[in-house]
Amino acid sequence: MADPDLDFTTGESGASATYPMQCSALRKNGYVVLKGRPCKIVEMSTSKTGKHGHAKVNLVGIDIFTNKKYEDMCPSTHNMDVPAIKRTDYQLVNIAESYMSLMSDNGDIREDLRVPESDIGKEIESKFEGGEEFMLEESELDLKTIQSLSFLFQINQNL
């Protein structure tokens, strides 16, 4: 997921990774592609050149992968790309050599994702090491822990 040259215009599932939207229809807390990166819109304002000019939209977004800030400005009639974001809950089944086995609601297992090298990754590992049987009992809690990650992973896959 940390691959900075990630090309997210090709989607593996065949669904379009992005779709166009007129600037004016974007909204704060929504998503947009800024400088080629998928971002969550944290600020959105308009301005114009001269009293009789046409509106331009100023966008500030935070890269959902790297938390980096991006800004852009464009005429409000223009279309912007919006990343198609899909979120799925997985149940953590196993961790082997830093790779997780994750099971989705319909029983599909994927094993291509690494345990992230972050605090939350450490938490997953420590919870997992607490014992497998125990895990299932606590699945509710752990599922939620992973959720935010799966959120990131899933975008990675689909974009």
Binding site: A15, Y19, Q22, C23, S24, A25, R27, N29, G30, K40, V42, S45, T46, S47, K48, T49, G50, K51, H52, G53, H54, A55, I62, I64, N67, P75, S76, T77, A84, I85, K86, R87, T88, D89, D105, N106, S118, D119, I120, E123, E140, L141, K144, T145, Q147, S148, L149, F151, L152
Partner: protein
């Protein structure tokens, strides 16, 4: 007590070295050293009876800062130990300080001022128990002033200033820990005693100065000797002169506060300080002093002398403005008022006519005029000699036009300090006041002035050659396109005051102004049309939009912009909460000319916006009011045609907004004009726009078509789209208009288009979509036969419901829920629901509530599905917030309960989904903040039912259901709210409380709960109870004073609840005991904001009632810690007095009031004493 201090030299050495540390540059001393030095001074100032040592310091130390601290210590100690001090020693202390300053003319200014401040504080404290005679002080000061020695005079001035600022009870007053009551008493005493004397003394000096300057030439050698002797520049004389004026200004301002009658509330005082525009209302006793024409003459002559010095000129004009606002018992009768005013106006006119006004004088002069026009009764104004009145009005007219031109110049030059703009605003406001009382003045006397002012306003706002817009002094026009952000207000708001006045003047001179606006606008529209056509041809040749010179277009747009704004303000008002009416002047104007008007031609002009007005035969015999509207419609038509010719990019969205704004404002008063509201009605207006007329139908259709066109063409211009949809809401929010709207085909196709979410309406921003939904729902309540109505709802609301239900009922909804198309559908539905809730009115709440309720339960299901999509969760909660906000006040018991249940479930699901959820992305905190804010808003909305309730036992629902018995009540507002708090509390971290809006909303909510459902608090689960109590404590002790006050207000109901339940070991009982100590300490031991005394006092009293034994214990502990027998006794007495009127304390209103009264005395008497600790 005043014996020489032991070890004085050591103390001085210690203080002087501490001062050295404090004065040293930051790099030379460590933070610890600095803190230590600060501590030295702090404890020095708190030391008991420091008078002898301070005297010693003042006499021996050479370090200014130490002198300053000694003066401060004296001041604080005197107040602290007042009761214990002998009156004679106080008197000798005061005399010592005064002599000290007199003998040392070379003291540093800040030391001198501080010592004089100490003197003033002593005088003030002494005035209360009459131990110091103010008269004596003024006698002394009078002697200083008559000494003729400038140095001594300057000192006298400083003393007066210090006294004034102490006694004025303003923000400048030293805080000496005494109650507002005390400050108020001082002020009253000072008013009776000292104020007039101060005024007389000041006048004396001013007279002397102005005489001296008259004799400038003869005095010059004396002057020079003075200068040589003191080596003082002339400037210092001037500066003392200026401070006299300032002093007087302060004094005049003060007069108002002091003589305003009745006790002044705290807020009133704050307001008084905030505004410069206070008026002078002296008592009768001032008559002799103020009605003396020499006083006013003096100020005019002073101003003439100092007007080139901009600072002093403002002060002296401010004094004149105060005199111009004089009213009340100072005038024995009306004739006195007339001659006073006449003298003032004469003085003013001769001052203005003889000079070229300086920039710095503009605001002051306009203040004088504005004050006299506002304050003097119309009968007094009209009683002026008619020539004088006419010259005054002429002068005002010229001045207004000239300030207007200068204001326009200021705008071109983009000056920071817009003095002429401010002055112009003031004068226009004065015109508004005058013109509104027109009937009191000679008939027609304002018409000519109105024409002049109106013309000059129009001229300043039009481009050359007709106008002077953007022309700088040398006649060169500047044209630069600057970046404008969305925060900048639209001109129609920014200049609304100016435009209201100009509109009003336009009505007064309607005969001139309405035709003028019409011809100017028609001309501009023709030119715009031509220019756009030429551009189109040009484009066909080159196809490059970039090559178009926008200058000509922009100039036309700006002209049209201002013409439409002025027309809008002239033709209609925008009253808040009242029925909008056609202004009487406009109505009369139309009636007056109706005999010369050909109605058919008028209707033809109105009905053919695509044609040039002048090309229609007989166009000179049309109704001017309708013709002006037609001119705006022509503008609108040119715009629409340009969009159809794909020239949208050349158009001005600003002009589009202006058109929408005008039409909305116009429609509110004119469209379907209600003849019953008017005594007389103009035939042209009623024929063109009355109910059941073709004209009204035509225009509704035209407006609707325009709206639809705008919504598709201008979806990218959020503000324009917003103005457009607001016009649509205006058209349907009144049933009569809505009835016509729903007969239009365009309306139905708009509804269908929106319901099917087909382009281009889905490009609109979410807020516009909400308002559009609102309009469509409102339209549905118009008169239609039942088939049509059914069909309408089938077109508008049912698709929403059907699509939504078929989507969420799909078996695989959970799987497809994350697909983009599905998400968009869901979001659009949620937005639409918010819009539907917004359309709630009392007569449609029944059906809308039922409709929305069905959705609410489905929404809760969505909470599960989208639990990992924060923005959707946010929107779902928002739907609930809107429904509760708009509908709860109309709902009867059973309906409310349904809503409570739904909200409760929502909160349960939210809570379940958020337990132990961890998100690591950057916006997690912000998302949570949004959720919590919305939840608290929801809870507050639900609570609001407890005090705003329009429901009448399901009255509005009577036809719908057979009443469910009320006893089956299962969920109460309290349950939902407490459950909600249960969710909110654990999530409220101290970090989140740093968001001010969240913090305020949170404390508002918990205070509401404590006040409304105190009985529920003891039943809370332990954890929740604890965190609630902790929140209260936190809010009381470490938040803003507003929050602190809220928390204190929450305590009384809690204590009362405890008293009711009589459980001695309940957690609430124990918690209130803790709060007793907190509030006790806060009131008795800590320096607290005096504003809080009442809230804290009420809390303390109920807590004392509850915990009498603990309270006695607290008092005992405090007393036993006092080693000084005198202080002990004073404290003991004070505590006895405090509870004397309420023993034994019971929760009885009368006793509580008595307690609060004693508490104020208590704080005044011993508050300062205990702060010593």
């Amino acid at each position: 007590m005043m014996m020489a201090a032991v070890g004085a030299p050591e103390v001085i050495t210690q203080l002087e070295s501490a001062a050295k540390v404090l004065m040293a540059p930051p790099s030379m001393v460590s933070t610890e050293q600095r803190q230590h030095a600060e501590h030295v001074f702090l404890s020095f100032r708190k030391s008991k009876s420091p008078f002898a040592i301070c005297k010693h310091i003042l006499e021996t130390s050479k370090v200014d800062y130490v002198l300053f601290q000694a003066a401060t210590a004296v001041m604080e100690a005197v107040v602290r130990e007042w009761i214990l001090l002998e009156k004679t020693s106080i008197e000798s202390l005061r005399a010592f300080l005064l002599t000290y300053v007199l003998q040392r003319p070379n003291l540093q200014k800040y030391v001198r001022e501080q010592i004089l401040l100490a003197v003033a504080v002593i005088v003030k404290r002494g005035s209360l128990d009459k131990s110091i005679n103010c008269k004596g002080i003024f006698h002394e000061v009078g002697q200083l002033i008559s000494s003729g020695n400038p140095t001594v005079q300057t000192l006298a001035c400083s003393i007066l200033t210090a006294l004034l600022s102490e006694f004025s009870s303003s923000s400048k007053t030293s805080s000496i820990g005494l109650s507002m009551e005390f400050h108020g008493n001082c002020k009253r005493l000072f008013q009776e005693d000292g104020l007039r004397q101060t005024f007389m003394l000041t006048m004396e000096v001013l007279q002397e100065f102005s005489r001296r300057e008259n004799l400038n030439a003869q005095m010059s050698c004396v002057f020079q000797r003075y200068l040589a002797l003191a080596n003082q520049p002339l400037l210092s004389l001037y500066s003392s002169f200026s401070s006299y004026i300032l002093l007087l200004l302060l004094l005049l301002l003060l007069l108002w506060a002091l003589t305003g009658g009745g006790p002044l509330g705290r807020h009133y005082i704050a307001m008084f300080e905030a505004t410069q525009n206070v008026t002078l209302k002296p008592t009768e006793s001032w008559r002799e002093a103020l009605l003396d024409t020499r006083v006013m003459d003096l100020f005019f002559s002073i101003h003439r002398k100092i007007r080139e010095d901009s600072d002093m000129a403002q002060d002296s004009l401010q004094c004149l403005a105060q005199l111009a606002s004089m009213h009340g018992p100072v005038f024995p009768d009306e004739s006195a008022q007339v001659s006073y005013l006449a003298h003032l106006v004469e003085g003013l006119l001769s001052m203005i006519n003889g000079i070229e006004i300086e920039d710095s004088e503009a605001v002051g002069i306009s203040n004088i005029i504005s004050n006299l026009i506002t304050m003097f009764p119309r009968s007094v104004l009209t009683a002026l000699p008619s020539e004088l009145f006419t010259s005054f009005i002429n002068c005002l007219t010229l001045l207004t036009c000239s300030f207007g031109r200068s204001a326009a110049l200021e705008e071109v030059l983009d000056k920071d300090d817009m003095v002429y703009m401010e002055a112009y605003d003031k004068l226009l406001e004065s015109w508004l006041t005058l013109v509104q009382d027109e009937e009191h003045f000679p008939r027609g006397c304002f018409v000519q002035p109105a024409i002049q002012v109106f013309n000059s306003y129009i001229q300043c706002h039009l481009a050359a050659p007709d106008g002077t817009r953007n022309l700088s002094v040398n006649g060169i026009s500047s044209h630069e396109a600057e970046e404008i952000n969305e925060l900048q207000e639209d001109d129609r708001e920014l200049f609304s005051d100016q435009l209201s006045s100009i509109g009003m003047l336009g009505r007064v001179a309607a005969d001139h102004c309405i035709p003028l606006l019409t011809s100017l606008l028609e001309d501009r529209v023709n030119r715009l049309h031509g220019q756009l056509q030429r551009t189109q041809q040009h484009l066909m040749a080159s196809t490059d939009l970039g090559s178009v010179d926008r200058k000509v277009l922009d100039d036309l747009y700006e002209d049209i912009h201002w013409l439409i704004l002025v027309s809008g303000y002239l033709l209609a008002d925008d009253p808040q909460g009242e029925t909008p009416m056609i202004p009487s002047e406009v109505m009369e104007f139309s009636i007056k000319h109706s005999t010369e008007v050909d109605i058919n031609t008028t209707l033809q002009i109105l009905g053919s916006p695509g044609e040039k007005a002048s090309s229609i035969p007989g166009c000179n015999r049309t109704d001017s009011v309708i013709r002006l509207l037609s001119a705006v419609l022509r503008t609108s038509e040119v715009e629409s045609r340009a969009t159809r010719a794909s020239l949208t990019e050349l158009l001005s969205p600003q002009m589009g907004k202006d058109i929408m704004w005008f039409l909305r404002r116009w429609a509110k008063s004119y469209l379907l004009v209600d003849e019953k509201l008017y005594e007389q009605i103009s035939i042209p207006l009623s024929t063109a726009f009355g109910a059941d007329t073709e004209g009204a139908q035509w225009i509704v259709g035209y407006l609707l078509e325009k709206v639809i066109n705008n919504l598709s063409v201008w979806s990218s211009e959020a503000e324009l789209a917003n103005d457009t949809v607001e016009l649509l809401v205006t058209l349907v929010e009144k049933r009569e208009r809505a009835n016509i709207v729903v007969q239009c085909e365009g309306w139905w196709s708009l509804a269908k288009q929106f319901a099917s979410r087909s382009p281009p309406l889905h490009l609109l921003s979410s807020s516009v979509q909400r308002s559009l939904m609102k309009a469509l729902v409102l339209g549905g309540f118009a008169n239609m036969d039942s088939d049509t109505k059914q069909q309408y709802w089938a077109e508008v609301l049912h698709p929403l419901q059907q699509r939504f239900l078929s989507l969420i009922n799909q078996e695989n909804f959970a799987q497809i829920s994350q697909e983009e198309a599905v998400k968009q559908e869901i979001v659009a539905t949620l937005e639409a629901l918010c819009g539907i809730a917004e359309a709630t009115q009392i007569d449609n709440v029944a059906s809308l509530f039922s409709f929305l309720m069905d959705f609410l339960s489905s929404c809760i299901g969505l909470m599960e599905v989208y639990s990992n999509t924060p923005e959707t969760i946010n929107l779902i909660i928002e739907v609930f917030v809107e429904v509760a906000h708009k509908q709860i006040c109309y709902l009867g018991e059973t309906k409310s309960m349904k809503l409570y249940e739904a909200c409760l479930t929502l909160l349960q699901v939210y809570s379940k989904n958020n337990q132990s959820r961890k998100r690591s992305d950057a916006t997690a905190e912000e998302d949570q903040y949004q959720d919590l804010l919305l939840i608290m808003e929801l809870l507050t909305n639900l609570l609001s039912k407890e005090f705003i309730d329009f429901s009448d036992n399901d009255e509005v629902f009577r036809n719908q259901e057979q009443g469910t018995p009320a006893s089956s009540r299962t969920v109460s507002a309290a349950d939902v709210v407490l459950y909600g708090v249960n969710i909110v509390l654990p999530l409220m971290s101290q970090d989140l409380l740093k968001f001010p809006s969240l913090c305020n909303q949170y404390y508002k909510l918990i205070t509401f709960i404590c006040e409304i459902f105190p009985e529920k608090i003891p039943q809370l689960p332990e954890d929740l109870f604890k965190s609630l109590m902790f929140s209260l404590e936190l809010g009381m002790t470490s938040m803003s004073s507003e929050v602190s006050q809220l928390c204190l207000e929450a305590l009384s109901p809690l204590a009362e609840q405890c008293a009711k339940s009589q459980e001695k070991d309940s957690p609430l009982f124990i918690a209130t005991r803790h709060f007793l100590k907190l509030v006790f300490d806060m009131l008795v031991l800590q320096k607290h904001n005096t504003e809080m005394t009442v809230a804290a006092g009420e809390a303390l009293y109920t807590l004392v009632c509850l915990h009498q034994a603990e309270y006695s214990e607290l008092v005992e502990t405090l007393l036993s810690s006092q080693r000084d027998a005198v202080i002990y006794q004073r404290l003991a007495d004070a505590f006895n007095k405090l509870t004397a009127s309420s023993t034994p304390p019971t929760m009885d209103r009368k006793q509580k009031v008595a307690f609060l009264k004693s508490l104020e005395e208590f704080v005044a008497n011993v508050g300062g004493l205990l702060c010593v600790k």
